[in-house]
Symmetry: C2
Subunit: 187 residues, 2 copies
């Protein structure tokens, strides 16, 4: 063990998984203390703002990951390669829908009201990067907007579908379908 001192950067991914599993309300401080192995006071020392600050740190961490690994490639790579890269990255990240999209889940209940800005930015950034990429691929403005919405809704819905049915392949099938539709248009 290199160091025993807890750092936010070590804890944030654990917090993310706990919020994913239990939801914002369901992830109690007690659960977090047990799962992280941190004492209550250590936790509040790292996150003086309590649970709200923990969730904000998690959302910020997720936003930065997507910005680096999904949005930036969408903006910078060649359109076909960018879309291909996005589908692969997303497929890995959500692990066949076993791992949910925390931002999407937060959007569904009253938790949304506490993190409206973070949620809105995440989805708008994704939609904008996707739309821009599709325009560069030759779509009209209207087509790009429609396609971007179709793709992002498909990804989010694919996660719901896979978790609800317990069948991981549902997610992969939806992704493959979206991918095939883009490959078709690209020709």
């Amino acid at each position: 063990m290199a160091r025993m001192i807890a750092e936010k950067s070590d804890i944030t991914p654990m917090l993310a998984e706990l919020f994913r599993r239990h939801g914002y309300e369901g992830a109690s401080i007690g659960i977090i203390v047990s799962a992280t192995g941190l004492g209550r006071s250590s936790l509040y020392h790292l996150f003086p703002g309590g649970k709200q600050e923990m969730a904000t740190a998690v959302l910020d961490h997720i936003a930065r990951w997507f910005d680096e690994n999904v949005f930036a490639p969408l903006r910078g790579m060649a359109p076909d390669a960018a879309l291909d890269h996005m589908f692969s990255a997303v497929s890995d990240y959500f692990r066949g829908g076993q791992r949910i999209c925390l931002v999407g889940a937060f959007a569904l209940d009253a938790t949304r009201d506490s993190f409206a800005q973070e949620i809105q930015t995440y989805f708008n950034d994704w939609l904008t990067a996707l739309e821009q990429c599709l325009r560069r691929a030759g779509h009209s403005d209207a087509q790009a907007r429609t396609e971007a919405q179709r793709i992002l809704a498909g990804i989010q819905g694919g996660i719901v579908l896979a978790r609800a049915t317990g069948e991981e392949q549902r997610f992969h099938a939806v992704i493959a379908d979206l991918r095939a539709a883009q490959a078709q248009i690209a020709k």
Copy 2:
């Protein structure tokens, strides 16, 4: 007022809205008591099994509504008309994504484990009815399966998208896109 006696049938829709707004964990008994105007004891008299039984009643109520208003038409009506009817019914029911799919939301966190059977049945029934309808419309087995997944994922994801961005038209656009794709194939 025709009667003062509380009945499950009167309370269940209110419970549904509360679970939609706050989630299963977030919808505390205190909130439910305040919102329904019922006393704690009246509530537990109607639902001796407590919150779990309330949610089961809500899920059962939803399942029956969809069975009547969506799945049965999908099975019984002419394929084109059935799909058209489904998109209209769903669009009204979810009110542009302002009203979420409670079953889908429950599927995303640990709540799923408590209601796995109800959630699975709802989604499988929907997928099966949709798939069967698409086969009657002339799709191959594989196509029907893919299309059914695409449509249901699109609906679920459209709700997430609309709520996350706060833009109701995102939901309507996704539904219109799905509808157009089916009309295209029907020709």
